[in-house]
């Protein structure tokens, strides 16, 4: 079964379906492209299981990480992914680079291109910044999170993790809880999950749901404000980090009320399917959106997500930089 599927994907690859130079969001991915990334990540996971986790594939290629917002896992994960493939990695932050002196993104992109970068992994506090960069350079741009807009590699690694456990994403009921408005993870996940045939349910207080979310783009998305009802029969539950740095506008009456109504605890988890998976994009506020017990419980695959993240990013770097440019 799997091999027939693999043969189909191999055929699409040979037919030149993968023509992508940038990875900016999952909205423009076809399901074949997603499937190709996930299959390639399977092969990368084998490399990660070795004692020496390094293959020579991207020797001589340079990957620049440009992070203008704090990040541990995404940046380190990309760095690890690139190094596992033998690429050279240059890490840039907003402070310590000319971005601080006010160099525009366009100039930064051109400079990095002139310096021989083959890919730029970028995180920026403004939505759309990676798109701007991609328009002004021949270098591959990978969005590592832009403002409240998109985080495609997180979306892909979540898809990979779900598929790894359930065998397929299609038909799975996935509940995303919390601050949807400010969550780029939620946005990319909604694109990715619905594209791959999952049933996506959002559960959040109305103040944390974007206005008009379900109407133009996502007719199939279900919103269920009552979390107890939302998690019934769920296969996958993703509580989002309550982004306290983005909560200054008085969108929540109190943290206590949020915890009472939207925290994923053992009692609520018990209402989902018996082996339902718990994912979290990290970093977690334990005791806020998730209890310690659930975060580290038997159903939690949060640590696996981190490993899978490296595999998925290796897959993307291979697909973007592996062949002739």
């Amino acid at each position: 079964m799997r091999t027939t599927k693999q043969r189909e994907i191999a055929a699409t690859l040979e037919a030149g379906i993968w023509r992508r130079r940038h990875v900016l969001d999952l909205d423009d991915f076809t399901s074949e492209e997603v499937e190709l990334v996930l299959e390639t990540a399977d092969a990368m996971k084998e490399v990660l299981s070795r004692e020496i986790k390094k293959v020579p594939t991207l020797r001589g290629k340079t990957v620049v990480t440009l992070f203008c917002e704090p990040s541990t896992r995404t940046r380190v994960s990309f760095e690890q992914a690139a190094k596992n493939l033998s690429a050279d990695v240059i890490n840039l932050g907003a402070s310590g680079s000319s971005v601080e002196k006010g160099e525009s993104l366009i100039d930064t992109a051109r400079t990095l291109q002139a310096l021989g970068a083959d890919a730029i992994v970028m995180r920026h506090y403004h939505a759309g910044a990676p798109y701007l960069m991609a328009r002004h350079t021949d270098v591959s741009v990978i969005n590592g999170g832009d403002g409240c807009h998109a985080h495609p590699t997180q979306g892909l690694l979540d898809l990979y993790t779900v598929r790894d456990h359930l065998g397929t994403v299609a038909g799975a009921k996935v509940v995303i809880i919390g601050d949807i408005t400010h969550s780029r993870v939620a946005r990319s996940n909604i694109w990715g999950l619905s594209k791959m045939g999952a049933e996506v349910v959002l559960s959040a207080p109305p103040t944390l749901l974007p206005v008009g979310l379900s109407i133009p783009y996502f007719p199939e998305i279900v919103v269920e404000q009552n979390l107890d009802r939302a998690v019934e029969g769920a296969d996958v539950i993703i509580p989002l980090r309550l982004q306290r740095e983005r909560q200054k506008g008085g969108l929540l009456p109190s943290l206590r009320e949020y915890v009472q109504l939207y925290q994923l605890d053992a009692k609520r988890l018990a209402k989902a399917k018996p082996n339902a998976l718990v994912l979290h994009p990290g970093p977690m506020n334990e005791g806020v959106e998730i209890t310690r017990e659930v975060a580290h419980g038997a159903q939690s695959v949060i640590e696996e997500q981190v490993t899978n993240g490296v595999a998925v990013r290796m897959a993307l770097l291979y697909l973007l930089l592996g062949g002739a440019q």
Binding site: E46, K54, G60, A324
Partner: protein, 178 residues
């Protein structure tokens, strides 16, 4: 374009039986042998040789599967990246006699890539090579230890291997491209 069959089903079966005997003879039995089939058609070939050996030696030889794409030296010039399939090695290959199995030996470049990949996985005691067809035109100092059929070819010819498991029939043919 003209096509000429160089091995039919029966001849493939005989060649693989002979290779199985040669492997056991050269290695003084089956101890410490691991088969590594190279994607795609090396995989069923390695299974068939192992099945032959099981028949007359009654011992089970571990079989691994190797994808060499990550080690290819022509990646930067390929227009389309090869599709990666997972490598699965069932046992620690350190200290073992690894027998690489592939369908056609040609330039030797994929065998070079396979040897690099294997050595990254552990330090085998030796690496031997079994192929169904050796068509010549080596570009690297590599030779096969076990050969189903030596077939001198021209560079304008293509050797096409069909196996039951992957293609629905057993046959090796040479296609003249002009």
């Amino acid at each position: 374009m003209s096509e000429k069959v160089i091995l039919d089903e029966e001849e493939i079966r005989r060649a693989l039986t002979r290779i199985a005997h040669e492997i056991v003879e050269r290695n003084h039995g089956c101890d410490g042998i691991v088969f590594i089939g190279m994607h795609t058609r090396g995989v069923p070939l390695s299974r068939r040789i192992a099945a032959n050996i099981k028949e007359f030696e009654r011992s089970e030889i571990p079989i691994g599967v190797l994808d060499i794409s990550l080690y290819r030296d022509d990646l930067p010039s390929l227009g389309v990246q090869p599709f990666l399939r997972p490598t699965t090695i069932p046992t620690d290959i350190a200290g073992k006699s690894v027998i690489l199995v592939d369908d056609v030996l040609y330039t030797g470049r994929s065998i070079r890539a396979a040897m690099d990949a294997l050595i990254d996985l552990g330090r085998p005691q030796s690496i031997q090579l079994a192929v169904l067809v050796d068509r010549g035109h080596r570009e690297l100092p590599i030779r096969a230890d076990y050969v189903g059929k030596n077939m001198p070819t021209s560079r304008y010819e293509e050797v096409v291997v069909h196996l039951n498991e992957t293609d629905g029939r057993d046959e090796v043919a040479i296609i003249k491209k002009r």
